[in-house]
């Protein structure tokens, strides 16, 4: 390469880097603004922009977080026009609720999907192809289609507002993608891995638990992150099946409520939003590699 071409290359690189830097800053500014606002004193947040936090320097505080997490006794009018009295553990409770909803909603569908994927990949039974075709077709079916019928079932079964109900709902809506992803992985495990086990007289369930599950850990990890982010961040399924009571409401529901009822209380909203974001962000940064793998393997979800 000549030195002129080299120089041209360098200049080109500089330009590309600059453009990328601008884009990255643009992308990050909304989050940075939220983060800074959430630790500014109430009066500051409501009177000046977050960018003036650096010039004014009236200090930072964790008061917003204390108020949002602990919650003081107060009344307010919600979006529907009713006066609601909120008391005691506010988002702290919703935080635990989110975990209670999310953990089984991730593990249960993965267990069931892995078993099904194993069945589809390594067993012969009537209707195998038909059933799998249905799974593929269901990949893109919008979950909106299920809301009314399932809500009716839940009303007659007494499952509305229960954890079991929402776990099963997330399981149902997560299964097509789960089966599809895990099938793609499990069907590529070499046949001789199983054959020796079967020859030794191991039952399929034992082969599944001892061989297939451990061998599928990378695929399961991707799926778990996928499902985790999806369930934790979901609003619609929670709204429909958990209902509005604060006892069971998850973070997204409470945050959406706060937007409706206290849309101008920016000091609280920003802190609340950050609390809702912190867990998925941690998961995301810790396990980004698996998440990307999962995205590659198939990314259509109904």
């Amino acid at each position: 390469m000549t030195s002129i071409a080299q120089k041209k290359q360098n200049r080109w690189n500089l330009v590309v880097n600059l453009i990328l830097l601008v884009i990255v800053i643009l992308w990050s500014i909304p989050i940075i603004g939220l983060l800074i606002s959430s630790i500014r004193p109430q009066d500051d947040v409501l009177s000046t922009g977050w960018w003036s936090a650096f010039s004014e320097n009236s200090g930072f505080t964790l008061d917003n977080y204390k108020r949002v997490l602990g919650g003081s006794e107060h009344t307010f009018v919600n979006s529907a026009g009713d006066t609601v009295r909120a008391s005691g553990d506010n988002l702290g409770r919703a935080f635990i609720n989110s975990f209670t909803v999310t953990i089984p909603s991730v593990i249960i569908p993965i267990l069931i999907a892995a078993a099904a994927a194993f069945g589809f990949a390594w067993m012969i039974f009537p209707g195998r192809k038909l059933f799998f075709t249905i799974v593929v077709a269901l990949l893109v079916v919008p979950l909106q289609i299920a809301l009314i019928p399932i809500l009716r079932d839940y009303q007659s079964l007494g499952l509305t507002g229960s954890y079991l109900g929402i776990w099963l709902a997330h399981t149902g809506f997560g299964l097509p993608l789960g089966i599809y992803l895990l099938y793609n992985y499990i069907s590529t495990i070499p046949r001789d891995v199983f054959e020796s086990a079967f020859l030794d007289g191991a039952r399929p369930m034992v082969v599944f638990a001892r061989l297939v599950l451990p061998l599928s850990v990378p695929a399961i990890a991707s799926l778990a992150i996928f499902q985790f982010l999806w369930v934790w961040n979901d609003l619609l399924v929670a709204l429909v099946f958990l209902g509005g009571t604060n006892d069971v409401a998850v973070l997204t529901q409470r945050l959406a409520n706060m937007v409706g009822s206290r849309g101008q209380d920016w000091h609280l909203l920003t802190a609340g939003a950050f609390i809702a974001m912190i867990v998925p962000l941690l998961v995301f940064f810790a396990l980004q590699r698996y998440f990307v793998q999962g995205l590659m393997a198939g990314s259509v979800k109904g």
Partner: protein, 370 residues
């Protein structure tokens, strides 16, 4: 035959009958115990006054352990059956639960929604196509169709366009990982969380006051009038779509970036030697090479835009002309309790994804091994 033979035969029959009975007893006993444990857990969870954290932990163990136990018990049961029967049942121990849940939650509901969509609000009277006539003629519905189309075109175009641009540029620099990580980050944030973030960016205060929203602060800095962005007819949709683009660009970028790594460098080098400009190389070599990836990514984001709900629900609740199909459906269900219309609108969403479904199925049927 001697008498002893007959006696021992009798004892044999009795013994085997007893054994069968015993086996049957055990076969019943284990599932009953399993069911008892599950039921006790259910009662505890329903009636307990223990602290929230304790209930949460019990709920998690009960839910997850329950599923594992059900698998184990059915497998155990099937293996007690005669070998020929067990062999036939075995696959369904694995596939059965998934199929049952899929049937309950997605397959049958599609049929039930189709059925309900021909009935009135309380699903009592057959109303023929009235709900569909509503879905395709109501002013709000038509508004939501137009808006959804905007979401699909601008949202998908924006996310894929930016994603492609960033992926192409990041491919050429050293700090690729850092840049990509930061652009990808919003993927982890919920639509509701993103809503709050962007509400803050769009926040409006009357002229003369200090603006706390970034966008209005910039506008006033350049001497403009502060705007209430969410009430600007037409444009407010664009401001909402920006949020989706912000969230989904990272996804498009990551997938496209992986596809870019698969473009053989020999072809690109050959193009360079022939003196093609960088733009030309991108247009004539790289884009055609990753075309199928672009289609996949676009399809996924089209489906997300089609079903968009959370952003609209939290930001404007469909007011000021920002209604979309999914928010209309939610309102028909929970504000007007009109199950017929709600179902018909849900069917509209299903009809809209049929082309994608058909495409997926065609790809699938081409696959070997099935």
């Amino acid at each position: 035959m001697t008498t002893t033979d007959i006696r021992s035969e009798k004892r044999g029959v009795l013994a085997s009958a007893l054994i069968t009975l015993g086996r049957l007893g055990v076969s019943l006993f284990v599932p009953i115990v399993a069911f008892g444990i599950l039921w006790a857990g259910f009662i505890f969870l329903r009636d307990s006054n223990a602290s929230q954290a304790v209930i949460a932990i019990v709920a998690i163990i009960w839910g997850v352990g329950g599923v594992a136990m059900l698998f184990w018990v059915t497998d155990w049961l099937v293996n007690r059956a005669p070998l020929s029967v067990a062999k036939k049942l075995q696959p369904f121990v694995f596939v059965g639960p998934a199929l049952a849940i899929l049937a309950w939650y997605l397959f049958v509901p599609t049929m039930r929604s189709l059925y309900l969509s021909f009935f009135d609000a309380q699903s009592n009277n057959f109303v023929k196509l009235d709900n569909y006539i509503f879905a395709f003629t109501d002013a709000k519905m038509l508004e939501s169709f137009v808006n959804n189309l905007m979401w699909i075109v601008l949202g998908t175009g924006g996310a894929v366009g930016f994603g492609l641009l960033i992926a192409l540029m990041a491919d050429r620099v050293k700090l690729e990982k850092v840049y990509k990580s930061l652009i990808f980050m919003p993927m982890a944030i919920s639509f509701v969380g993103a809503g709050v973030i962007w509400r803050f960016v769009y926040a409006y205060k009357p002229a003369g006051e200090d603006q706390i929203g970034l966008l209005n602060a910039i506008v006033t800095l350049f001497g403009g009038e502060p705007q209430a962005w969410f009430t600007m007819a037409g444009w407010n949709n664009v401001f909402l779509i920006v949020i989706l683009v912000w969230l989904q660009t990272g996804y498009a970028m990551v997938i496209i970036s992986a596809a870019l790594k698969g473009v053989p460098s020999s072809i690109i080098e050959a193009g360079r030697i022939d003196g093609a400009s960088e733009i030309r190389i991108i247009r004539s070599i790289i884009i055609p090479f990753i075309a199928s990836t672009l289609v996949t990514v676009s399809t996924t984001i089209v489906i997300i835009s089609l079903k968009i709900f959370d952003i609209v629900f939290t930001m404007t609740n469909g007011n000021y002309g920002t209604e979309v199909i999914a928010s209309m459906q939610y309102k028909q269900m929970f504000r007007f309790y009109h199950y017929g219309r709600g179902s018909a609108i849900a069917m509209v969403l299903v009809i809209a994804v049929i082309p994608v479904m058909w495409y997926n199925l065609r790809q699938f049927s081409k696959r070997e091994g099935f």
